[in-house]
């Protein structure tokens, strides 16, 4: 649109040349228009650049935000039970996998909390937990799928000897199953590359750990 505008006025100036008054304003308008248009274009581009991430990033009620918040809660309990096992379990292999799960999931909590911060969202949501999951997985007594009850946690803390190992392995196995269920729900509902990448890594890790936990269960039985 600019090009015709300027050329038009330039051509128009040729006949205007004899008339001294006519030329200057016309060319000034052309330059001015071009300048304004450049500035406006730059501002528009800048505004678009500013707004695009804001408009495309996950919102407060999104699956991504729900996943980040609820998986933080879910992970937090896995860290708790793993640290109990790291401190009190009998089998060195159990203590080893426990500290691996504890530090690994605590790290993932940090990543998910960083997402929320980057998305300009609060770590706490206004929607009830699990409401982002379309399959209607329920929260029972405030607990998400696979989470141990307060009684089970107390029993784990009070357990002695190999009983710590056994209880931990049982609780963590159920915990991972519930966790994978939630991860699958998120993977099925988001196309956010970063969320998909981290969720997929979580799933792979937990699936491998399920095998290892099962193997250790056999070991702890004997």
């Amino acid at each position: 649109m600019t090009a015709p505008a300027t050329t038009d006025s330039e051509y128009d100036e040729i006949p205007a040349a004899p008339d001294e008054g006519g030329r200057a304003p016309a060319s000034r308008y052309g330059v001015l228009a071009l300048a304004i248009m450049l500035v406006v274009g730059l501002l528009l581009g800048y505004a678009g650049g500013l707004l695009t991430p804001r408009l495309t990033r996950p919102g407060d009620a999104s699956v991504e935000a729900g996943f980040a918040r609820d998986m933080t809660t879910h992970h937090a309990q896995a860290v708790e039970m793993s640290l109990v096992a790291y401190r009190s379990a009998t089998l060195p292999e159990v203590r080893q996998i426990a500290v691996d799960i504890a530090t690994g999931q605590q790290g993932e909590i940090g990543a998910m909390q960083t997402w929320l911060r980057e998305w300009g969202l609060s770590p706490t949501g206004s929607n009830p937990p699990m409401s982002w999951m379309s399959d209607g997985a329920t929260v029972k007594d405030g607990l998400m799928p696979g989470m141990a009850t307060p009684q089970q946690m107390t029993a784990l803390r009070n357990a002695q000897g190999i009983e710590v190992d056994r209880q931990f392995l049982t609780l963590m196995y159920a915990h991972h199953l519930g966790g994978i269920h939630m991860i699958d729900a998120a993977l099925g509902a988001t196309d956010n590359a970063e969320v998909v990448r981290v969720a997929q890594t979580m799933k792979n890790t937990q699936q491998t750990e399920l095998n290892n936990l099962r193997q250790l269960q056999a070991q702890a039985k004997g």
């Binding site: 006025s9 308008y29 706490t124």
Partner: protein
């Protein structure tokens, strides 16, 4: 451009005419333009060859087209930028702004910042200015705050440490009716960075604490309880969102406990 010019047919002749030599086809389009805008022709109309000057007036008229367009686009751009600024202001309204908007909340971070400051962890029983306390010096051990619902009073020396880690501590008068206690417990159970316990000597039935914040309410149905938890849980953490709530003291009793010597597991 087409908006500014009166009509398509009139615009075309001016473009065509300007491409040609000035003298040639002037009279006709000049007359047309002149008839359209009478103000132009009187000034130009002196000599014969001057007539072609009239297109200048046309071009002046046409210059308003782009200008109007640019103004429109400029207004649009300003609108988009303005909306962006407004949205970012509204959207990222910080948690402390939202917390301070809760009716009746006491912001000790603002009113009495000094009471929250401390040198280092201190063991044994400590005295607190506020009841229940909302911050300040505390024991090395924290109270487990993984959504723990304690049925007996706990040591403030541990609970304050939990507040430092971003927990919201719900306290209630021991005589609070059971249904209200259950209602409060349902907000806590399964939610990390929360804990709840009865508290002797409360001046209101229920009191909520986060590091540097306190809200006292009469009823478990008060909607400000959910607001308080939403705005301050994790957010009020002095040590960020990953500070631990697990591996804390899980026992009740108002006498603070010393951390136990690590027992080596028997192989």
């Amino acid at each position: 451009m087409s908006i500014s010019t009166p009509g398509g047919p009139e615009r075309r002749p001016t473009v065509v005419s300007t491409g040609k030599k000035p003298a040639a086809g002037r009279p006709a389009p000049g007359a047309k333009a002149g008839s359209g805008k009478p103000t132009g022709s009187p000034r130009a109309g002196g000599k014969g060859p001057r007539k072609p000057v009239t297109p200048v007036k046309v071009s002046q008229g046409r210059a308003w087209g782009p200008i109007a367009l640019f103004v429109a686009v400029g207004v649009l751009a300003a609108g988009i930028i303005g909306y962006g600024a407004w949205a970012s202001f509204q959207g990222s309204k910080p948690w402390d702004k939202r917390a301070n908007a809760i009716e009746g909340i006491v912001n000790i971070r603002k009113t009495d910042k000094a009471s929250l400051e401390y040198e280092s962890h201190k063991s044994g029983p400590l005295t607190y200015k506020y009841s229940p306390p909302v911050g300040g010096v505390h024991n090395a051990a924290w109270q487990n705050c993984m959504g723990d619902v304690y049925d007996a009073p706990i040591a403030s020396e541990h609970a304050v440490h939990s507040l430092e880690h971003g927990a919201v501590w719900i306290t209630y008068r021991p005589d609070l009716p059971k249904d209200q206690v259950d209602k409060l417990a349902s907000k806590v159970r399964g939610v990390e960075k929360t804990l709840m316990s009865p508290y002797e000597g409360l001046d209101k039935p229920i009191s909520l604490q986060a590091w540097g914040y306190q809200l006292k309410v009469d009823n478990a149905d008060d909607s400000r309880i959910d607001e308080f938890i939403k705005d301050l849980r994790v957010n009020a953490s002095v040590e960020g969102p990953t500070a631990l709530c697990n591996t804390g003291i899980t026992a009740t009793g108002t006498t603070p406990r010393e951390l136990q010597q690590q027992q080596q597991p028997t192989q």
